[in-house]
């Protein structure tokens, strides 16, 4: 296929956005993630309020739920990719948009368009809640630090959603994709954190932490937010390229 025109890009991106926003699961996942994140923020804030005044960091407590929050974005990415295989929609998609690599790229771009604001709002809501509850007791912070942390959190959640969508496109079925990704992020990775300590920080789940967590002075060999972003982007790109190669080659 020749290079797609800007008009074609606009049309296909619009169609992929339409698909995502008319899927009830998209909204249920985002709203559910928002509510659960606020509940977690409330819980972490309550624990934080028990601590000594002037020692608690609003950012650390506000973003403490990120480890759980990423589950919502893993699910969102998988649903976006695997929904094509419900009701035979993939046939309609590929007879309407038969340029497979281009179509999958536009789907991922549409997912990013939805994920970026959603991730920012959800991550910021947790920090805002913590700020409101702890502004009198916690240590102060620079506005720039907060913006950097929220931008990092947004980037991390967006890349996580894209990576899981690429995995969903590879596996094509929702349940196996959910089991593998949630199993890795929430069971395998925490259980194996003591193995390969030198390499573990480069894995996609752990490297993303460096995108939004302020570096701890106790930790050696930490990555900067920029390095964390670059490595997670590389992971995501590798998964996307593999997904596109398989998507182009195999029968629908």
């Amino acid at each position: 296929m020749s290079v797609p025109s800007s008009k074609k890009i606009t049309l296909i991106l619009g169609a992929e956005l339409d698909k995502l926003v008319t899927l009830p699961w998209t909204w249920l996942t985002l709203i559910g993630t928002f509510i659960i994140n606020l509940l977690l923020a409330a819980a972490f804030t309550s624990v934080g309020l028990q601590g000594a005044a002037g020692t608690q960091s609003i950012l650390n407590i506000g973003l403490a739920s990120m480890g759980y929050l990423q589950a919502g974005f893993l699910i969102l990415g998988i649903l976006a990719a695997c929904s094509e295989y419900t009701g035979g929609q993939i046939r309609t998609t590929l007879t309407t948009i038969p340029w497979r690599g281009f179509q999958l790229s536009m789907k991922l771009l549409a997912l990013a368009v939805i994920t970026i604001p959603a991730a920012f709002i959800i991550a910021a809501s947790g920090v805002l809640y913590t700020f409101i509850r702890m502004r009198d007791t916690a240590v102060g912070f620079e506005i720039n630090t907060m913006i950097e942390a929220l931008a990092g959190a947004t980037g991390y959640l967006t890349l996580t959603a894209l990576l899981s969508a690429a995995m969903g496109a590879l596996l094509r079925r929702t349940t196996p994709a959910l089991v593998i990704l949630l199993g890795y992020y929430f069971v395998v990775s925490p259980l194996t954190k003591d193995f390969l300590p030198g390499l573990k920080k480069y894995f996609p789940d752990t490297v993303g932490n460096y995108m939004y967590m302020p570096p701890s002075p106790d930790e050696i060999n930490v990555l900067t937010p920029l390095q964390g972003t670059g490595i997670l982007m590389l992971w995501t790109l590798i998964f996307i390229i593999v997904a596109i190669v398989f998507y182009r080659r195999r029968d629908a």
């Binding site: 619009g14 339409d18 899927l23 009830p24 419900t86 009701g87 035979g88 046939r91 007879t95 629908a252």
Partner: protein, 237 residues
């Protein structure tokens, strides 16, 4: 014009299609008939770019499906089922398709009206009956008002009214110069609709010609079909 040339398809070690060739011409309804598992759907899937051929070609107006500039306005396809996500509404399904092809929302309303789904357009596809799902698939095929229609088992599961609608509709499309290729295993339902007949059995074409040629000395298409597809059937026409 649709052209299938020496199409071969393997799944694993099993040969699904064994070098089949035929054409579907403008102004004619071509019936692609065969028992279940004969290779009809595999052929249509390759024609529509969904599956890869092991060798051979399937061309739409002389080019592979993926090279069409805007497929929806060239060829409309309805394969089994609705082809829509069960949790999306019928209208939303057609709207994303229309947007991808650069078509207006008013065209969505037109095709909903043509297939009689306007009142059910805001229901989720998962709540549709089999017949309504078929109608949605037909609406999707007609969305771009294409010159070519490819329909897989279009009357399967439809009530008599639906079958009559499909018959009349396809005849009208062909008479206005369009190409119609439809596959079916329900021979009796299609005898009154098709101009040309291609019969496939075990991945091989066993008959290809006009309706009259394929019927030959048999009393009707159904007899001719069974004569060609029964265990001891003879060679191709």
């Amino acid at each position: 014009m649709l052209e299938i040339n020496n199409l071969v398809k393997y799944r694993g070690t099993q040969e699904i299609l064994s070098g089949i060739s035929f054409k579907a011409r403008p102004g004619r309804v071509t019936g692609f008939l065969g028992p279940n598992g004969a290779g009809k759907s595999s052929t249509l899937r390759i024609l529509l770019g969904l599956d890869r051929a092991t060798s051979g070609s399937a061309l739409v107006n002389g080019m592979p499906f993926a090279e069409l500039h805007n497929p929806l306005v060239t060829i409309g396809a309805a394969l089994d089922g609705s082809g829509a996500h069960r949790r999306r509404t019928g209208r939303a399904h057609l709207r994303w398709m229309a947007r991808a092809a650069g078509l207006s929302s008013s065209r969505v309303e037109e095709v909903l009206e043509i297939v009689g789904l306007t009142k059910a357009a805001d229901k989720r596809v998962g709540n549709y009956s089999l017949g309504m799902g078929k109608r949605l698939g037909m609406a999707a095929a007609l969305l771009g008002d294409p010159q070519i229609l490819v329909l897989d088992e279009p009357v399967n599961g439809l009530d008599p009214e639906g079958i009559r609608f499909i018959r009349t509709f396809l005849r009208e499309r062909a008479e206005s110069g369009n190409t119609v290729l439809l596959s079916s295993h329900l021979i009796g339902e299609l005898a009154e609709t098709v101009d040309d007949v291609v019969i496939i059995k075990h991945g091989k074409i066993v008959a290809d010609g006009t309706l009259e040629e394929v019927i030959g000395n048999h009393s009707n298409l159904e007899e001719a079909f069974f004569a060609r597809t029964s265990a001891h059937a003879g060679d191709a026409v």
